[in-house]
């Protein structure tokens, strides 16, 4: 009987033969792609990092021909927090901490059930801190802006959209015709129109439907609309998870004597949420990207801040730097979240297997 030998190592040349030059067409593609890729990456790196100017007060400080990031560093306060008063920027930091706490139950596994309440509590706390809530000096929402606002709107929208979405998902599966009809109607109408029309609606139409004299903040109105918009997509994400929970789960808990509400809350819903997490995170990524659209109704999130900076006479002609920066900010956030979601999917795959194997 022969013993096992360790595998022979593939040399770089063999790997290249197989993966890069498998056929003539392959080889041509490899060479062309390699040249293009290398040229592009080198030039981009050179422009953005090597020759870039990082600090300065006006465009004159950027003489080297590379990227002029000075526009962004000079205005970093606006980029981060919009027109929030400088003396109160510490509140922005505190609000971000509150939001981090709000996200905790999602990121950290094995938290007690009551931790789920941290999410809405954290969000409300951060809004209170930013606005003042009669305890701190009031800062009207018109002054809020920058990246802070994207994060705030994104997280607030998602955290409140999820419970609404869950209710809608249940409503859609219900046998009661009116509830089912209402859920389907709401979901299909909200998913069938572009977000920008809903934002226009929040900005122009909603004030008409509120009692005379009642003035809701423009940001709050936009937030409400964004939440309702996202809830329809969350509903679809959760619906998939609900359908994926095996029928046997309900049968088992029923035979154990658990009532309907208990079955749903303790057995079905946790499993459904766990299964839907990739879809839920995808919906959140979409929502976060959509916050970029708020500048169209004059809410100055980071895209709006950069657009304003670009129209400043001192910084003419820096569109490339501005848009690359905004794109980069979103890209970092969205890419990280999608990687995290992919790793969750892999993990949850393991969890499901563990549940189904015999003891």
């Amino acid at each position: 009987m022969s013993a096992a030998r360790p595998a022979p190592t593939t040399t770089a040349w063999q790997w290249a033969r197989l993966n890069l030059f498998g056929s003539i067409a392959d080889s041509v593609l490899t060479v062309v792609a390699a040249v293009l890729f290398a040229w592009f990456v080198w030039n981009a790196f050179d422009w953005a990092i090597l020759r870039a100017d990082w600090f300065g007060e006006t465009k004159e400080a950027c003489k080297s021909g590379g990227a002029c990031w000075a526009m962004i560093t000079a205005r970093w306060q606006q980029v981060v927090a919009g027109y929030y008063p400088e003396a109160h920027l510490w509140r922005v930091a505190l609000a971000m901490v509150c939001l981090a706490i709000a996200v905790l139950p999602v990121i950290k596994r094995d938290m007690p059930a009551w931790a789920a309440l941290l999410a809405p509590a954290g969000v409300i706390a951060s809004i209170a801190v930013l606005g003042g809530a009669n305890i701190l000096p009031s800062v009207p929402t018109d002054y809020w802006g920058g990246i802070m606002l994207n994060v705030l709107v994104g997280l607030t929208g998602a955290i409140f959209a999820l419970p609404i979405g869950i209710l809608l998902a249940f409503g859609r599966r219900s046998d009661l015709p009116i509830i089912k009809g209402f859920s389907i109607g709401f979901i299909e109408i909200v998913r069938g129109v572009p977000l920008i029309t809903l934002l226009f609606m929040s900005s122009v139409v909603l004030p008409l439907f509120l009692p005379t004299g009642m003035n809701l903040d423009k940001l709050m109105r936009a937030l409400a609309v964004v939440t309702l918009f996202s809830s329809a997509y969350m509903a679809e994400a959760v619906r998939g998870g609900l359908a994926a929970v095996p029928k046997g789960q309900r049968e088992a808990s029923h035979s154990l004597g658990l009532g309907l509400l208990q079955t749903t809350g303790l057995v079905v819903l946790p499993q459904a949420i766990r299964i839907s997490i990739p879809a839920i995170v995808n919906t959140f990524i979409g929502l976060f990207k959509d916050t970029s659209l708020l500048y169209v109704i004059a809410i100055l999130e980071v895209t709006g801040v950069i657009r304003q900076a670009l129209s400043d006479f001192a910084w003419l002609g820096l569109e490339n730097e501005g848009y690359v920066f905004v794109a980069f900010v979103f890209w970092v956030a969205c890419f990280s979240m999608s990687r995290w979601s992919a790793s969750l999917e892999q993990q949850s795959g393991k969890t499901v297997k563990r549940v189904e194997e015999p003891a």
Binding site: T30, L176, E188, G192, V204, L208, L260, F330
Partner: protein
């Protein structure tokens, strides 16, 4: 089929009570909102109703696929805007599908660089917001040379920062005949080519399908020549500081088209990749075992099965692209939202009516896509996906 909803098991009386409560709540809400709206509208002196649709619009629209004058009505404005939306949506759907298919297949190819390129493209396009991508492309479009130093060939096309100038077919008199004759020749040629190919496969011998192509091209050229070029096509010529003749694609349209194509293309690439990977591995092995090469295996065995998984989310993406075209307003392309929910809304002040009409348009598109998906799923339930 057991349902999971807790509402379902609530039994007769409780179920009726819940529904009754919902209906009551909705009705009360509607009454309250209506009352508020009534007072607010009266207080601000805004008109109501759809009479404004018959009024003169009084503003210009740069791009109109049908005739339009500022003296036309708001109804005409709606039509022009809707056509502009449909135009950019159709263009976007075609190119995004091509880009997405290519990138999706490259994502699973054997070539490492191909995979790397495709992955880089998908991960960048998917994770940056579409408004930002549109702004980037618009910026690029404006980098084209000004009309004086335009890039292109006189009589053919020009690329400038004011737009792309292309030949435009003018259907008049003989040219009409030429165009239709040419199209007929192409269609006949396609049929001939396919007929010859069938004959070849069935009987082993016969005319080469290439004769069909020759007929198509020859017929088209003949029809074209018979009527002479100048009457048939309006071509762009340089004239003074600008251009005369031809059809203009504005930088806004080009930018919107490019942004929508690359953005949606990245999602389509992921859908195609998922579809290809969903086909059981054994299918590829069986195809190779029976002698098909890689390209044949992909085309004859894997892709047809992958389509079942690909088409429903693909239709969804097409719908998303159509809705995303509403972002045209940020770069001034006159789509439906821009001319109707934008300019018209501002001029008439009738926000509720204009927004409602615009939303109805998109809802109609969305419901058509849903209907199509239901039809497609029913039709392809004939054969089950392999084990």
């Amino acid at each position: 089929m057991a349902r999971g909803g807790f509402m379902q098991r609530m039994g007769g009386v409780r179920g009726l009570a819940a529904q009754g409560a919902l209906v009551l709540g909705l009705v009360l809400l509607a009454v309250w909102l209506n009352h508020n709206a009534g007072t607010n509208i009266a207080a601000r002196g805004i008109a109501t109703g759809y009479d404004f649709m018959g009024r003169e619009a009084g503003f210009n629209i740069d791009q109109h696929l049908v005739d339009y004058e500022p003296t036309d009505t708001y109804t005409r404005v709606f039509l022009v805007g809707a056509l502009n939306t449909i135009l950019v949506a159709v263009m976007g759907i075609v190119t995004s599908t091509i880009i997405g298919l290519t990138a999706g297949v490259m994502r699973v190819s054997k070539n490492y660089l191909g995979r790397l390129l495709a992955t880089t493209y998908v991960e960048i396009a998917r994770n940056t917001p579409l408004p930002v991508q549109i702004l980037v492309w618009y910026n690029l479009a404006l980098l084209a040379p000004p009309p004086r130093t335009a890039w292109g060939a006189d009589g053919l096309f020009f690329l400038t920062n004011r737009g792309v100038y292309l030949p435009q077919f003018n259907l008049n008199g003989l040219a009409d005949f030429a165009i239709w004759g040419g199209i007929a020749a192409i269609v006949a040629g396609l049929f001939l080519s396919s007929h010859f190919r069938k004959q070849r496969t069935e009987h082993g011998t016969g005319a080469s399908p290439n004769w069909g192509w020759a007929f198509a091209i020859g017929g088209f050229v003949l029809a074209y020549l018979l009527t002479g070029n100048p009457t048939g096509i309006d071509v762009p010529h340089k004239s003074g500081f600008g251009f005369t003749g031809g059809f203009t694609m504005s930088p806004a349209l080009m930018a919107l088209w490019a942004a929508l194509s690359f953005y949606t293309g990245s999602f389509i690439a992921e859908i195609v990749r998922g579809g290809l990977q969903a086909v059981a591995k054994g299918q590829g092995e069986a195809a190779r075992a029976v002698g098909l090469n890689d390209a044949q295996a992909l085309r004859l065995v894997i892709l047809p099965q992958a389509m079942r998984v690909i088409v429903p989310p693909l239709a969804s993406q097409y719908l998303n692209l159509t809705k995303n075209s509403s972002l045209a307003v940020i770069i001034g392309y006159p789509d439906l939202v821009a001319v109707f929910a934008g300019t018209s809304l501002n001029q008439t002040g009738q926000a509720i009516e204009t927004l409602a009409l615009v939303m109805l348009f998109y809802l109609a598109c969305s419901l058509s896509v849903s209907a199509f998906m239901n039809w497609y799923n029913a039709r392809s339930a004939v054969w089950a996906v392999s084990r």
